[in-house]
Symmetry: D2
Subunit: 430 residues, 4 copies
């Protein structure tokens, strides 16, 4: 993780880590605008967590993974540790996940004070130690920052899910004045191609931050294929609905068909048909008319897969996605002609490949060849979830700035719908 390690310039340039840490922590609090203690205490389903729990858990992470592990500091409130441990078996007992919404104590005010105290301790550690703070501590802080950013997105999706359960369909925040349906209808997508039949290098190098599951950089053999230059939009998905897509088992995986029947799925999550037949979507701004040009979102892997089959296409493999996403960060397509460009430090994806919806891929979430988990307790961060989940690539409207990478592997179970999840079409070239 050399980007955060001391270098020869460190005596002259200010350490960027404290400011980055403070900014990300402040960004979490900024999300709370429009919510009160009651909103932040409730849990809408076992898969979601209360906002207050996210606030506390991300703080617990710094306390345990940084202050305790790397500075030997005793926890502020030892009796809280089991409450805010998410899933780290190596770190002791845990409160059952489905009961996080019953933790009315500690209160929001106590949790906010806990946040401030732990932040002060982390900053003091950085300040006191300066650059001589061990690389391990700095790496743990960087991991904590990335972790906090992940939970920022989860806080948004979990709160949206909670508010959607309320028959009043309350808005979290007022819509910006210019919000509304796009001025013009959707155009057919263009197609981006990789015509080579040969290996591609995917995964993150050791430079810069990346999760353990993005490494190592390795070769994958790819056949010629093409990807749409944008995600499937709501108008296109509406056509699937109106063509009877939810009633036709031909398009569906067997598990998907069962999930759709059992769950009564007739449209993406949060879509509601008004009495007059018009479709609306529940959003953080309350109910809004469906914008056909916007990417379809809040669909399961099963719906994404069914739509792709309906459309005569398929979902991309994650290696296909990453290969073209990396290519299209360069303005000149000439550079992309190399059949096997080297792996490179993780870098933000191009606009065409992120920022709107996470994109389900056809790849089950699994270890890359040669995968090594993080050391210590962080070893439970990613590896133990490598079954029963599918990889999503890109980033969404709820992903914090700076938290997207072309190598980033998001993952959720195939029936999950409460994330900002959509799809991009892929096709074989032959």
């Amino acid at each position: 993780m050399s980007s955060v390690a001391p270098d020869v310039h460190s005596l002259r340039t200010p350490d960027p880590l404290p400011a980055r840490f403070a900014a990300v922590r402040a960004a979490t609090l900024a999300l709370l605008d429009g919510l009160d203690a009651e909103d932040l205490a409730a849990q809408s389903m076992p898969d979601a967590s209360p906002g207050k729990w996210h606030l506390a858990h991300t703080t617990w992470f710094f306390e345990v993974m940084v202050l305790q592990a790397h500075a030997g500091q005793a926890p502020l409130r030892p009796e809280w540790l089991p409450l805010f441990n998410s899933y780290y078996d190596a770190l002791g007992a845990r409160h059952p996940r489905p009961q996080r919404g019953l933790l009315t104590r500690p209160s929001l005010a106590q949790v906010l004070e806990y946040r401030a105290q732990v932040e002060a301790r982390v900053l003091a550690l950085l300040d006191r130690a300066g650059d001589s703070a061990g690389t391990a501590a700095r790496e743990a802080i960087e991991l904590g920052i990335q972790h906090e950013q992940q939970h920022q997105e989860l806080l948004v999706t979990d709160l949206k899910h909670l508010l959607a359960q309320n028959p009043l369909r309350p808005a979290w925040r007022a819509a910006p004045p210019d919000a509304g349906a796009s001025a013009h209808g959707p155009l057919p997508p263009g197609w981006l191609r990789r015509t080579e039949d040969g290996p591609a290098l995917i995964g993150a190098t050791d430079e810069g931050f990346a999760y353990d599951n993005e490494r190592p950089c390795h070769r994958v053999w790819l056949r010629p294929f093409e990807l749409a230059d944008r995600p499937v939009n709501c108008g296109e998905f509406l056509h699937f609905i109106e063509s009877g897509g939810y009633d036709d088992p031909r398009w569906w995986l067997s598990d998907g068909w069962d999930a759709a029947q059992h769950g009564g799925w007739r449209a993406p999550l949060y879509w509601e048909r008004q009495d007059g037949g018009a479709w609306q979507r529940f959003t953080v701004h309350g109910m809004r008319a469906l914008d056909e040009a916007a990417p379809v979102s809040h669909i399961s892997y099963y719906e994404a897969d069914a739509y792709a089959r309906f459309a005569g296409a398929r979902l991309p493999a994650e290696a296909e996605w990453e290969t073209l996403a990396r290519r299209h960060r360069f303005e000149s397509m000439a550079q992309s002609a190399a059949a096997e460009p080297p792996c490179e430090p993780a870098a933000p994806v191009a606009a065409a490949f992120g920022g709107r919806v996470w994109e389900w891929t056809a790849s089950a979430y699994a270890a890359y060849p040669g995968f090594r988990p993080f050391a210590g307790a962080a070893g439970e961060y990613n590896g133990k979830f490598m079954s029963g989940q599918m990889v999503l690539r890109g980033s969404s409207c709820a992903t914090p700035a700076g938290h997207s990478r072309s190598t980033y592997r998001n993952f959720f179970p195939p029936a999950a719908r409460w994330q900002f999840s959509g799809l991009r079409l892929a096709r074989d070239l032959e």
Copy 2:
């Protein structure tokens, strides 16, 4: 309901109803001491409701059953009606009960304001109309007061259950200074007898307030029996536990044995054994050492029934309970010699028969012969629950003053444990 109807004295004496209404409403708010908005928003299980919901529902009851039904007033917030309707099918749609804890909006502050507005309207109605307010409206207000008192007890039991789910075992309020184990150990109970073999009159007369399910007054044939003069206490129940009572199917009903095995019951709800072997109970004051002289509480019907069988006794029929409870309101036992004293207006029970724990009876909750439900929407109040539940008699430490009657029929499913529910032994005399 002649006790609240105008009489010849009404021009000279102030109407007691407004003050009574205001006092009961204020008593609800007084319960909130020691709780905050988060505590009041959470729901610990489908059978329990959030405190905020109790605050709103009891207000909804006055708005719909009084202001709308008897004064034609439009609801303040029509969109809230489905949220706070508990189970009245005649009054339209309802939010699903298990999801009451997800209603973070309206907020506690909004609900408290709603309470104040509806209270003002009810008082204005009483003031404006004076004694000329229809008997029906006054009766509906009386029903609303009784209803609010029921919910005061439920608010206590539901909040206690919620706090018990928190591993921190938080106290709601500090214990009073003199609280603690009784000074002396439990004595064997004395026995109160009815030696007659003949009919008894039970149930409420038409004087005074009573729920529809307490009427009509009717005859039940009773054989000679005796009842203990106090409920079973914790020390006695501990003997059952230590004698292997939870492991011996001889004592248990078949359904009870299944419930105990499936639920992992090894002691009453809220009892916890410390490492050293000492028993504690979770209370509204946090964890407390077990007081062996206190009545056992938080047991299911099945546990009550099993204990009685273990003790060589049985549970009382509700008619047995009511007959002796009425007798023992009189100091002179001579008066109780009448085999069949007349029914009388409902009146508070004697200290020996209430105030500590509700007492499970052997009687399934069913209509009395000649039962007539309340008129109008209140007809759903009691009658439709007359299956699958057992009657409890008496009152508990959480029952508001003035809300106990010798004819009162509380009822819960036989597996319910989160109420202050205990038992009193009964035996045949022959």
Copy 3:
């Protein structure tokens, strides 16, 4: 149980018990006509048992309750005992009830041989001991005979339920040639009255066989009431359906409404609407046109209760039912004028009160005052099921001849529908 005990005539008249035993056992085998080993091995739901299991369990009962308990005989196949013990905790381990359909071994042939061997042993015991066989053994044999008769009816209802799960809707036996809809439509019922307001004696005396739950004879105070002179028929119930009865919560208990919604109930069990709109019922003769004059059957307590409310009536209390059923065994109504006729030995009910469908009553199944369970292992026969069930009275088309009594208390959970269960209307007289 003096009816089976030796009396002064016993030296001169042959002992009727061996013949009765042999006849009841043979009647069980006669039921198997039209079934094969596969039909007898399957279990359609946890509440039902395979036919083979009934054959083995009734044999186990004689082996354990008679041969082992009263003659000290070792079981023929000790390893089978846990397989065929239904619910007797005092008699050791039991195979889980929902898995009875997985016991493909022992085979039907083995079970039939087991039946023959145990029968021979029981007859040998009776023969060898003659009248000097202990009363206890003879009483146990009588209990085993009654038990076998109960299982004959269960074998019919369980097999009918099994065959109904088969989309082929197979007939068990060919319909008799004259079967078909009644020639004339249903007439309104007449009403049978008890106009006294006073005690009635109900329950069985000690003469003749009765289950422990039918005793002791005791007084119940009854108010004036009337009962219909026949059960509700299919045409009447069809009117309830066509009047939207299944869609109107006014008629339903809260638990009943939930059960109906959750179970998708739109008609009694086994009713199916054909494409043309005509109703049919699945019967042991396959699908048959609905006979509107036949008693409605295969309804739950909830449906019976809802129908009664819809019809402006109510269900009878079991004491009401028994009182009128006993009266109407006498041709002369004069005799029935006595307000409180004595209890009498159990005797068959009049035609108007049995033989077609079991009739749900409004009475929860509970101990009579002074109830004493049978001694020994048979003590688990009835008492431990006294919660969560409702009493049915009468008998059905599947009840063996000789197995109905005016004091007989059948009982099932309120949602059960696979028995031949219907209802009779009751009304208050005032």
Copy 4:
């Protein structure tokens, strides 16, 4: 599928297909030895099917996929079609899978007659048409043969599971006289290596029969690795148990840990510890002492994965497995030196790679690049199950002779344990 298509020799050599068809059908019936109609009618869990259902479904397959699709023949019993359709949505309604054990009609005798009639029709079709029978029909017959072989193995595993539910632990067949523990203890495995870092060709060519999911032949990039030369054996797995493997979350995937806790897993399925501590396994020969040298079997993917992590190794990717399995079919290792040998017609695997237990791989079951489902109704055969399952490679003691291929992809959900499923260790070479 050219192996079954007519070629220039067809006029001179007898058509092998009729004999092959007859032999495979006869092999199914030979499996029934030791079972009776009751054994073949029961269903032990929703994932398993009754033996009778397997007999009928494999016949239904020939009737619908061959006789109806390619010869226009009407079905013998149209009303049976929904009963024996497994999961083909394109072929109409289906009886619910969990209720297959309730189909006591048609009887076993009827199903066996149905088998004979359909067999005669298939043979007549082959005979009548001779070589002029369309390739499509012959291909459909070949698919039906392969399908029948798959169900032969399922019939064994399903029946074994059924018999294991019986507390009598009945043996299906007597053990062969020489059966018993291996004479000598297990040796450490040897290791088979592929040292190249480069692409391998895997998958089936178009020659010979293969399922659609084995095609097309395609390149996968492999890094250097080694595989054990035999599956993990019972002694090694016992060491995992005795080392506390089932109690240590470090070894387990998160989903696996949950499955093990929820299912109470303490050892492989069918292992039982005797009172004296000795381990036994339930087998088709009844309970047998554990043979430590035999491959461990009846473990889930989660247990396989946990064991591999415990052993400092990992599960193989399916491409790794196939590459080495193909190499080791050749005696001379020299031939295997080619980094990328061509794909070849499917052929039986070497003894070291099959015949004992299926081997869980680390590969989720997914489409190969360029996957095309079979045409027509057979398109539902494999493709729609490509989610939520893991690939197993090799074959087991229950796999019919001739039904194993180096390219064969078996697949089951990761929690499945009732197949003969074990594992082989893999390690990276670096």
